[in-house]
């Protein structure tokens, strides 16, 4: 597994972070203050989770005046699904080789 995909899964393993990503996807963009107002979490805790999500590439931060505005970025999830596709293709190739060898051993 690539580091990028591992970081995505690690970031999403936390339920609070999953919720934040879903909220951002729904809202389009938001700030730690706004997100904290609708969650049983402090602004500081929200900011910490958003920093972890930003590190994984799942959200992007932009400074707007005194606020930091966060937007979701779906690109890393596309990497994750691409990784899954690759695992499927790998198994197709392996099982084809397995069948070929098994048929070769079959008594005539």
């Amino acid at each position: 597994m690539g580091d990028g995909v591992g970081a995505v899964f690690a970031a999403l393993a936390d339920p609070s972070r999953r919720y934040l990503v879903e909220r951002l996807a729904h809202l389009g963009s938001s700030t730690p203050t706004e997100l904290a107002s609708e969650l049983p979490m402090t602004r500081q805790a929200v900011a910490k989770h958003l920093a972890a999500l930003e590190h994984a590439g799942l959200v992007r931060a932009r400074r707007e005046g005194r606020q930091t505005v966060y937007r979701p970025d779906p690109a890393p999830l596309r990497d994750a699904t691409a990784w899954m596709d690759r695992v499927g293709v790998e198994w197709d190739a392996r099982l084809e080789a397995l069948a070929r060898h098994a048929a070769g051993r079959e008594p005539a």
Partner: protein, 114 residues
């Protein structure tokens, strides 16, 4: 979320089991260089010619029926054998615990168009 594949091998179950568990047989189809100790807790090392190396631990073994490996990086592979009129059915399931989460999010319309 899991990836599942099936294939029917035209061989008896004993022979299919050997193909899934004996290192020299695994080298025919799974990886280029294989070490595998088929006992619960046994270690597996799979090396490919492109330099990729993956380590696994045998999670469980049911002779002629089921072998479960846990990768040290992520996920789990379950290999299952069942009788089939044309020989032996091999079913492979590869899972990683967090896939479901990533895909659920990916599937959300709001997220996809964000």
């Amino acid at each position: 979320m899991e990836i599942e594949r099936e294939i029917v091998l035209p061989v008896p179950r004993e022979e299919a089991w050997e193909a899934l568990t004996e290192p020299e047989r695994l080298e025919e189809w799974f990886a280029n260089d294989v070490e595998l100790d088929v006992v619960p807790g046994g270690e597996g090392v799979f090396e490919w010619d492109n330099g990729e190396v993956r380590h696994a631990i045998v999670e469980s073994v049911e002779e002629l029926e089921r072998l479960v490996l846990r990768w040290d990086d992520a996920g789990r592979v379950e290999l299952e054998l069942t009788e089939h009129p044309a020989g032996t059915l091999v079913r492979v399931r590869e899972t990683a615990p967090e896939w479901g989460i990533a895909l659920d999010l990916h599937a959300s319309a709001a997220w996809a168009t964000a």
